[in-house]
């Protein structure tokens, strides 16, 4: 069973029961965000919710740990470019 969700404005698919980080890796995207200080790319690091490197904007929430979140149909996932923002970008 495949689920559809929106990644950086594009509709994509992943199998059911995948975390957001798993879905991204499955789709071939490992870079998850760009840091606020030096705009450096970051990705999955600890995979267990401790390092907070895999933070992405998910639906209305500005920073969510992608490794701790299961993909839901219609979920809107955004790779943060720098510091978090309340202005939702598509």
């Amino acid at each position: 069973m495949e689920i559809e969700f929106i990644l950086d404005g594009q509709a994509v698919h992943c199998p059911e029961g995948f975390t957001v980080i798993g879905a991204l890796f499955h789709l071939g995207q490992r870079v998850v965000r760009m840091t606020a200080g030096t705009a450096a790319p970051r990705s999955l690091f600890c995979g267990m919710g401790v390092c907070c490197d895999c933070l992405m904007q998910i639906n209305e929430r500005t920073s969510v740990r992608a490794c701790m979140t299961l993909v839901q149909p219609g979920m809107r996932v955004v790779s943060a470019q720098g510091a978090a923002t309340t202005a939702y970008q598509v």
Binding site: T62, S63, A84
Partner: protein, 398 residues
């Protein structure tokens, strides 16, 4: 860091006040040793860094929050005495030049913002009379207070709630990074020849003929020409080592802060009756604060974190989706009349106080440093400090 054998002045306490005093003294050519012990709860590192000379004087910020939380208190928080409002105003004006000087001297940018201003949000009718009183209290010489309508508020800061009546805008009330200010004063003092000893706890003061002649710490002892008590919430304990009593009490303030958000998420500093809200240069939004007359514990309480979060969301609804990064608390040095204790102690010839900053320590720091330094060196302070001398409490004590 090796302790010197002798210093003209030993400053006890390396918070924003102590380091400001050390900086001013070193600038005037005195040999200074600045002692610090990193105790949890230092007010400087807990502070949001609002430079609200007018706002705080008029009872906003922590004043109105405390007031709201105390059911059955009188109608509005009272303003602070005019003399002190002037002191804070004068100190606030020093920031632009100070920022440049410190940047040149030690390379630290204290992030003294000059364009935020302060907005006091008026939610409902019950605050209206308070609002009009504030405008008349301020007087014309601390000018340019304005009442802003909802449209003007929205134009400036679109994320502020639409659910309010209006707001009062204080253009001169900006902000600084209190930690960088502290660090810059400290390094600036060292650049001018001061000696900074971290983790040095003072446990005794040797007195001879009404003069402190030696300061004993766990890192060694130092002979001195004069001592400045800038130990913040712990000033009473330090004064006691010299057999002096001052009515300093710890007043805890809890604060929460968000993750770093894009610059410009919030352009104004906000004060409401629930909390104050500032976005710092780094992007984090700081929301505070409680005012608890308590002990020296720096615990954070669940209920208080929730109240601050609720207050923040009320003022800026978009914050509900933003991550709460951490909570902490600090201990302000409180005094019974909410005014600082500055200048010479009556009991000794060479013991000076620089404490009691309560909720205005950060904005008062530059001028406090200058007037206390002048006082220590027998020069005329550029602002009179008679109203702030410790002996004003002796009528109560004796």
């Amino acid at each position: 860091m090796v302790m010197r054998k002798f210093s003209d002045v030993v400053v006890i306490g390396g918070g924003v006040i102590g380091s400001s005093v050390a900086f001013s003294l070193a600038r005037l050519g005195a040999s200074v040793t600045l002692l610090d012990a990193s105790t949890p709860g230092r007010a400087t590192s807990a502070s949001a860094g609002g430079l609200w000379s007018l706002g705080e004087s008029l009872g906003l910020g922590c004043g109105v929050i405390l007031h709201t939380s105390q059911q059955g208190a009188r109608a509005e928080p009272a303003p602070l005495p005019l003399k002190f409002m002037d002191f804070l105003w004068e100190s606030n004006l020093l920031f632009p030049n100070l920022a440049t000087e410190l940047l040149t001297l030690c390379g630290i940018n204290i992030e003294a913002e000059s364009a935020t201003g302060l907005l006091y949000l008026i939610y409902d009718e019950s605050q209206e009379s308070h609002a009009s009183r504030i405008i008349s209290w301020a007087g014309s010489d601390h000018g340019a207070l304005e009442q802003w309508g909802p449209q003007r508020i929205r134009d400036r800061d679109p994320l502020i709630t639409h659910n309010l009546r209006n707001a009062i805008h204080f253009p001169g009330d900006n902000q600084v990074n209190p930690i960088l200010l502290n660090e810059a004063f400290k390094r600036g003092a060292c650049a001018k020849g001061a000696c900074f000893i971290p983790e040095a706890r003072v446990h005794a003061l040797r007195c001879n003929n009404r003069r402190i002649v030696e300061v004993y710490t766990d890192k060694g002892s130092i002979a001195c020409g004069a001592v400045v008590n800038a130990a913040g919430a712990w000033s009473a304990q330090i004064a006691k080592l010299a057999s002096i009593e001052i009515p300093i009490q710890p007043v805890r303030g809890q604060i929460i802060c968000t993750e770093a958000l894009q610059p410009g998420t919030l352009r104004s500093n906000l004060s409401t009756r629930d909390c104050y809200i500032l976005q710092k240069a780094h992007g984090e939004i700081i929301i505070g604060s409680t005012t608890e007359y308590s002990d020296f514990s720096t615990k954070v309480r669940y209920e208080d974190i929730c109240n601050l979060a609720a207050g923040a969301i009320r003022a800026v609804p978009a914050l509900r989706n933003v991550t709460l990064k951490r909570s902490w608390s600090g201990l302000r040095p409180g005094t019974p009349d909410e005014l600082p204790i500055l200048g010479p102690a009556a009991e000794l010839e060479n013991f000076f106080h620089a404490t009691g900053g309560f909720r205005t320590g950060i904005v008062a720091a530059p001028l406090t440093g200058e007037v206390v330094a002048a006082s220590v060196l027998g020069l005329k302070p550029k602002f009179p400090i008679e109203s702030f001398l410790a002996h004003r409490f002796q009528r109560v004590y004796v």
